[in-house]
Symmetry: C2
Subunit: 504 residues, 2 copies
């Protein structure tokens, strides 16, 4: 029999349980942040008609996977981002939507790129857009969402959001006297500034036909730096005040900065940077990129901006839009490199051993009872009938507890309970095993817990214990004697705060 190579296709990767659990927690955290910020969620298919994706522009075609069933089919394309499908969605369903529409779209996209660390040919994007929003308060909320979402992931003091406005560079052709048609190529050249020395970009601008005074002027503009964002705008405005479109862009950034302050986005996390161009053609106003302070090499982990014309590709509607996108998979690699990725619990909490024919029905019922009580439980179903072999399975599977019922235990209605980390063993009556598993130390709060005691009323102390990372939380209500009255674990999407203490 010829064996088929079991590796994933080149540029694609499998995720093992630990990797996927990290990704899932990140996605759940992002979902919670988006929901808290008032966003609804939609879904579009992975495959779209090719003209939807390219908008007729052949330039896009070289990274798109084209898919068909028979040779005669018109090919569909796998989406390369979520913004274009969103625009199509809005055009198709405009009658059913209420504008402004705060909408999120989370899912995989596919690009036939060369792969490197944190870059694959399939990766998850988390997009949030406010569609039908004309006000700059929408742009500000999108940026606040970037801050809030990345903060939830533990990155509040590690991000640099660099913001500009397309209109500023949009005024360049008028100001420096070059053909308006060259602007997209000029922007694409400028967009490489982080990866290439200025010399190479200058050469590219020269080959496009810009004269040396224009090239020098652009360099001078992009070199403007200031410790205060408003000062940077003042300097740029002094430089560009005779270019009306550029001036308008600068005024918009000025207004935006006030809104960011009102939305409590700390100034330490954002700055204006006139070199942010965003290669994609559809942006028309605010544009931004986010990098990680300690990991500039990994590139942008979130980007986006305002696109006021995109929907009109698909319908006779001019629907303004502004949005952000977070690349979860690149961020996952980053959290790992920064050493702040949580190692989540994976798999079962309890493993039930199973090595005696006569006890089979007892262990099955035990597993069933534990599961019905909400305790995640696995039962051994392999071929190794030795205690040593099955204990090794339980240890390597990283269960917290192993339970054992042999013929002697069965006759006496007891269970051996092994705490695998503490390496202790106790005998417990079968009827008490659920309570015993629940109160096991393995369900106690982990290292990162926060304990917030809260005196409430004359007789009660409520202590809320929150397992902090991402959106995973355990809330316990504890009475003054220390008894746990109520425990709830909330590993994901939570609309209301689990710490809420309310008196109606």
């Amino acid at each position: 029999m010829r064996r088929i190579d079991p590796q994933p296709a080149s540029g694609f990767s499998d995720l093992l349980p630990k990797e996927l659990a990290v990704r899932q927690e990140m996605i759940d955290s992002v979902r919670a942040s988006f929901a808290r910020n008032g966003f609804s969620f939609i879904s579009t298919p992975a495959l779209e008609r090719e003209e939807v994706l390219t908008g007729g522009d052949p330039l896009f075609a070289k990274q798109i996977y084209r898919a068909k069933i028979t040779e005669d089919d018109a090919p569909l394309g796998l989406r390369f981002d979520l913004t274009v499908p969103l625009a199509r969605f809005v055009a198709a369903h405009a009658d059913d939507l209420v504008f402004p529409f705060s909408v999120s779209h989370i899912g995989p996209v596919w690009r036939g790129e060369h792969t490197q660390a944190g870059r694959w040919r399939q990766f998850i994007q988390c997009d949030a857009d406010i569609v039908g929003a004309t006000e700059l308060t929408a742009d500000a909320q999108i940026l606040a969402l970037v801050y809030s979402t990345l903060s939830d992931l533990g990155l509040s003091d590690r991000i640099a959001i660099r913001i500009s406005n397309r209109k500023i560079l949009g005024g360049l052709p008028e100001f420096f006297n070059f053909d308006q048609k060259l602007l997209p190529q000029v922007l694409r050249a400028i967009d490489k500034l982080e990866k290439q020395p200025w010399k190479e970009i200058a050469d590219e601008l020269k080959s496009l036909g810009l004269d040396s005074s224009a090239i020098d002027g652009i360099q001078e503009l992009l070199s403007i730096r200031a410790s205060d964002p408003i000062e940077l705008l003042d300097q740029a405005d002094k430089y560009l005040k005779f270019a009306p479109q550029s001036h308008e862009g600068i005024q918009e950034l000025r207004e935006l900065s006030g809104y960011l302050d009102a939305l409590n986005v700390p100034r330490t996390t954002w700055s204006f940077d006139l070199s942010i161009a965003r290669g994609l053609g559809y942006y028309t106003g605010m544009v931004y990129e986010t990098s990680l302070v300690a990991l500039p090499r990994i590139g942008s982990v979130s980007s986006g901006g305002r696109y006021d014309e995109l929907v009109s590709r698909f319908a006779p509607l001019r629907i303004a839009g502004v949005g952000m996108s977070i690349g979860i998979d690149r961020l996952r690699v980053a959290l790992d490199e920064l050493g702040i990725a949580r190692t989540p619990n994976i798999g079962a909490a309890v493993g039930v051993l199973n090595f005696d024919e006569s006890c089979k029905l007892v262990v099955l019922r035990l597993a069933s009872d534990l599961r019905n009580a909400g305790i995640s439980t696995a039962l051994y179903t392999g071929t190794d009938n030795s205690l040593k072999g099955q204990l090794s399975w339980a240890l390597r599977s990283q269960f917290k507890i192993a339970l054992l019922v042999g013929p002697q235990e069965k006759d006496r209605n007891v269970v051996q309970i092994k705490q695998l980390e503490a390496r202790t063993q106790d005998e417990v009556p079968l009827a008490q095993i659920i309570g015993k598993c629940r109160e096991s130390s393995c369900f106690a709060p982990r290292d990162k817990s926060i304990i917030r005691p809260a005196t409430y009323g004359p007789r009660s102390v409520i202590s809320t214990i929150t397992i902090a990372p991402f959106a995973g939380r355990t809330t316990r209500t504890i009475d003054p004697s220390g008894s746990v009255l109520c425990a709830a674990e909330m590993p994901c999407l939570s609309y209301s705060s689990p710490d809420a203490v309310v008196r109606p």
Copy 2:
């Protein structure tokens, strides 16, 4: 400008927020059930090398989307199920896995089928498999998982799990004297029994070369019915006792029925049905199909079985496996038709109106404060500056509360709070608005709530209010005077029961 048709490609569909919220709750519920049953989660790419998917069998090829970037690339294929990618995954990562490995895989699959109600060319599968499990206790746990997972979705008394064993029909060639090689085609013909009258299947078996005594014998076997599952096995065994392979299959089902009882799977939800053949070639033992009692037309909503050879396609390993698959999208349509699909909350709870330039910073800060307090909040960012227009936005967006700050409110440090359903309006000091939103009646338990009072200790009554459908739950701890001490909303994946009341 030529406009591009905004409809999704034929056979594919968009999901609006309400539809996606239902699907997401279903997926979260399934994830919670799988986790409770001890399963870990993995992910594989959507695109696989084509030989991985087809195993070299050209029969599969006609439903597979083949994808490539340039004409010269060897095409990749979009996966048509999750079982084949799982087998590849296990072969690729066998050294990093602990067997038996309870593993779940949730994601979209693609098939170039004709579409109909509940069937699309892209749909979400939720798979759970125990890999490396040789024991029938594994088969029983998979069936218990089907029951438990569908019960969580509100279907406990609406499902019919029909179970058989491939070995029973596997003994037919020997018993009825026809060529072993014809068996796959015979099974595929039998598999159509639900959709076609026996006459057509008999014709198909005849055209395959089976003689009339074999055809009559197969019909007789498939017609065996009995109210008790063991009686059905007894009758079949009487009939087939001279076919060793068939007898072995019957004995396995006998053993399985005892395990299902031990796992508390009610007999009313499952039966043995010897006509269950499962068209796919890779099954070797237990096979099952699940239909909805009130909606047989919609077909199987969950199916699976034991496949002991699949991994050996990819590695010199004989790894036994048994698994289940739930098609979420078909089930979503079914829940809707049955009238038991919950209408989940979508979008924001609070909408902040925004129509005065001088109040812009106040409303932005208000939205930010509410969000930071965990209250899902949207802010109006459109062009309509009338109260009527913005209230219409809030009503049509189905927010629970609208908040209004105009110049007068700003000067007096108050907010107008409008309960949109109750159509009431109150004026509240700005500093109290978070508490006021929290205690609003819209956060009270909804229709489907279950209230479970629990006396605990001398002074406490803990009342746990659970919003039942799927995994969405709100847990509130209420003291004897009726004050809410602690509230937690848990719309998804929950490893431990939110109702747990424990004394350490």
